[in-house]
Amino acid sequence: MSLWEYANPVKFLRLSERVLPTLWVLAISSTVVGLVWGFFFTPDDIRQGSTVKIIYIHVPAALIAINAWFMMLVASLIWLIRRHHVSALAAKAAAPVGVVMTLIALITGAIWGQPMWGTWWVWDPRLTSFLILFLFYLGYIALWEAIEDSDTAADLTAVLCMVGSVFAVLSRYAVNFWNQGLHQGTSIPVATGERSVADVFFVPLLISMVGFGLLFLALTLYRTGTEIRVRRTKALLAREGRN
């Protein structure tokens, strides 16, 4: 029994069908609990007022936006090394979810920034690198759409994902160098184990982060299943056409 067994599309579909109902329930309930708790049952911040509550969408979305790209990178590597089609399709399926998360993070950030910083947008390193990440997602999705042959598309997008990852990290630091920031540092530095967020805000935030993570997982599994079925349908139609 190894993980690679699920590289078989049939086994993968069987597993995802078994897991998905539970996953949906967990994802939706924890997202709803996190957001409702965050929005209605936490006190207003002393300086930011109720605008602080956008953190319950903004931070989890940003977290998933970055990790979705990372997941695509791992899936692309697996595809390039072991040639498992499910892996390539999972990377393809994750991209639109990631791009939506990036967009949510950008938009909620702008909505928060308007009253707090007095502007919708500044060329702050974090904001800028997120915009660049958004462009990378768009390019990746566009390349998938542009190529007809699915194996060629999978190969090319996988290499693009790898090269893009290197350049995205490079851009992240280049942008840091280029302009000083307005965005606050992380509230939950994992490395030091400290945090600057009080428990009343932190617990619902954690729940909604978990919720967004599960939501990403569920959506990606679901979309991967769809991609597998689409490919199967195409294969069947091609066979019909030949006969």
Binding site: G139, A142, A146, T152, M162, G164, F167, A174
Partner: protein
Amino acid sequence: MNALLIRDIRLAVRAGGGFGLGLAFFLIVIVMVPFAVGADTGLLSKTAPGVLWIGALLACLLSLDRLLALDFEDGTLDLLATAPLPLEAALSVKALAHWITTGLPLVIAAPVLGVLMNLPTQGYGWLVLSLLLGTPALSVIGTFGAALTVGIKRGGLLLSLLVLPLYVPTLIFGAEAARRGAAGADVSTPMLLLAGISAATIALMPFASAAVLKVNLR
């Protein structure tokens, strides 16, 4: 390799090769800028390094889709792929030819256009140096983009979408070096980082380009 280099340069220089188009485009972009932002010399000289860098970058981008597309159509790339010369080397040579026919003229023309943009006197040397260091990176990264999209009909727009985000670090350090040079500040940090990016991309990108080109030739 020499033969390939000479062939590519000849093809680019001869009629229909598009040599000089990039240069003309560069000129036109720079001429358009004052119309758009106003002819205030103070503003122009302040934005000159950045505008010249953007112009050079766009001119470079413009010529990318013919870098491999014509050779792909007439089968030259298939021959190159089966030739004893590794495809990585062939693509490096092609990138070099692209740089000689596009990047180098831009570097040489930049000071002339700097006059139009009212670039401060001390900025000329740094502008030329930053372009000289940065344009090779633009060519090799562009070759990767061209190799990615070579099989796609009318892939020009997609090519820009894929390549421009990859140009971000080069542009940031290049324009920053030119800007600091024009302002009379210390340029060593961005200049060294720019040189580092160029060296790394020249060394590594041909492998990525060859990998994707092989997929496209399959």
